[in-house]
């Protein structure tokens, strides 16, 4: 059986008369975007918290948007991504005084999708590294405390809080990740595996998944061509778009020079018995003249032609082992 639970993480840029814009440009562009994802057979849709008001504006409510997705062959909205990439005096996960505010913000997002069956509340557990450093045990514990709180709250609303680690975030090395997961409560805080981000940070995503299999609630399948070996992660003001020597960190699956071993990951996923959503992501696909539509096609082609094979192999092996 082919894996049906593929979802798409909502980065996308399309041409409009006002230049390249996200499909939230207006309802007609949004509809066309969903149709394109539908043509590729995606069943889940992940989006950002900041798009929710726009979705409400265009479709009347988030629920109505989900109906539109369902009319187009989707199952549902699968994840909501929420983040504080930049520390301010109001919000910074490593600063305890800001925690009440962050929890209140998260509560507002949770309310916006109340009544749907969104599974993952995906968060960046920290801000940029350079705003946190030196990264100490104590600061990691403070961040863990915050997400324990948020996790308990979202679980009451049926969503799992799951942590997505940026290569430029304050929790990035294997040691820091392990420490963070030791400090967080496995009932409340889960692991979201972004293959490219870990690889850039020099962490093996496959090993992360093996070691945190029980807490893993999802993946961003995306690729990279570069491991950060020159401390780009700590460059102010921003390592993601402004690193001195790397103009593009992220690529869709299936490009020449990609560093992530996706077939191995797929086999591991099958072998592990994981049966949740797998999410495709490729932010900044337009850099260097690329197109989101094409990148999405190439990634989905890779799923159907390469990962499907890896999946079948692993299933056959499982079968043989029984």
């Amino acid at each position: 059986m082919a894996w049906t639970k593929w979802s798409y993480m909502d980065h996308w840029v399309t041409e409009t008369p006002q230049g390249p814009q996200p499909p939230s440009f207006n309802r007609a562009y949004m509809d066309r975007y969903i149709k394109q994802l539908s043509a590729l057979g995606f069943k889940g849709f992940d989006t950002f918290f900041f798009y929710l008001p726009m979705i409400e504006g265009m479709y009347g409510s988030v629920k109505a948007f989900e109906h539109f997705l369902q009319d187009n062959g989707f199952e549902k909205i699968t994840g909501i991504f929420s983040a504080y990439p930049y520390a301010t005096k109001y919000t910074a996960p490593h600063v305890p005084e800001t925690h009440d505010r962050i929890v209140a913000d998260c509560m507002a997002t949770v309310r916006a999708v109340e009544g749907l069956s969104v599974e993952n509340f995906i968060v960046m557990p920290s801000t940029t590294y350079f705003q946190v450093e030196p990264v100490t045990d104590e600061k990691i514990k403070i961040m863990a405390d915050l997400w324990n709180r948020v996790g308990q709250m979202t679980l009451e609303h049926g969503m799992r809080t799951t942590c997505h680690f940026e290569f430029w975030g304050a929790i990035r090395t294997r040691e820091q990740l392990d420490l963070f997961f030791r400090y967080t409560d496995p009932r409340y805080v889960y692991f979201f595996c972004d293959t490219a981000q870990h690889t850039i940070a020099g962490v093996d995503p496959l090993q992360m998944f093996r070691d945190y299999r029980d807490r893993c609630t999802g993946f961003h399948f995306k690729d990279t061509h570069t491991v950060d070996e020159h401390e780009a992660y700590r460059t102010p003001p921003d390592p993601e778009l402004m690193a001195p020597n790397v103009t593009r960190w992220f690529y869709e699956m299936g490009t020449e020079g990609g560093l992530v071993d996706f077939p191995a990951l797929m086999r591991e996923i099958v072998t592990s018995g994981y049966d949740g959503w797998l999410t495709v992501e490729h932010d900044k696909a337009e850099l260097g003249g690329g197109s989101y539509a094409e990148a999405t096609c190439v990634a989905k082609w890779y799923i159907d032609n390469v990962l499907a094979e890896a999946q079948a192999e692993a299933e056959a092996q499982l079968e043989a082992g029984r």
Partner: protein
Amino acid sequence: MRDTLRWAYALNQWNIRMDVFVRHEDQRRALKTLSALGFGHIELAAGTGRWDNLGRPEVIEINHGSPEGFLAFLRSCSVNGVSSMFWDPGQPVEEEGWAFRSTRNRDDHAAIVESAKPFVDFLAAIGAEQLVARPVGSAWMQPPLGRDDIAAIGEVWNSVGKVAAAAGVGLALHYDCLSAVHTADELRRLLDATDPELVGLALDTAELTIGGIDPVAFYEERHERVTHVHLKDTRYADTGEEYRMPGAETTMLRGGAGRRIERWFFELGTEGGLVDVKAFVAALRRHGYPGWVVVESDHGGNPAELAMLNSWYLQQELSVART
């Protein structure tokens, strides 16, 4: 541009999404483009977050060390300086905890004045002349303005104007076509509610035209209050009601509903443009307008092409020398 008028160009047309126009080399290319086209000064626009890195004084400082460092950055591209900066206190920003503030709400006034200070200080430090501000939020988001509302709005801008004047910076209120101050009468009342010594008008030719106000006539009427100009064209005027549509930023200005017009703002000299640019510029010259004339196109396609077409219009149709 060598002329009796002072010409500048707005960078906003490059910064069309949150994740573009972030790398310094991209910004350098835009600055060199403007310099090659004869523009020696630019207008900035306020923004939020680490990717809007020309949008807030503290973020500019992280990027360039200091106001002087920023000027050096501009000058490395042969751009001499900044004419002005656009700022909307009603736009929630991360750095202010996403606070939602309204100039018609007197409880917000102290915070608005406070939040203006870093901008004023920064503009003073880089030798820019005008803080260009959106006086009030969009019409569709609020009940119609009563007389006291305009008074309240006037009060906060007088306060901001005082802060700005103390730093040697001018304050110009910018009319836009979605704003709750919509009719010519409302605009007059807003001007009357502010102190001419402290608060000027930023006249945007396209925005007025879309809003149903003739920019040439209005300039003739209130030219003594006009301290800043945005020069751009449009092919459409509001039917009179579209600005009230819910989500007008999208439904009207991006064609999501109504007549489905997906692009409103155009370069000077566009076919079917509604603004009489020549008459307007002639009026500026006639009155010896002393401020900046900022050419802009907002979001309308390829930024370099638009800048080139605008510069061509200035050179060929308005006889402004490029260098």
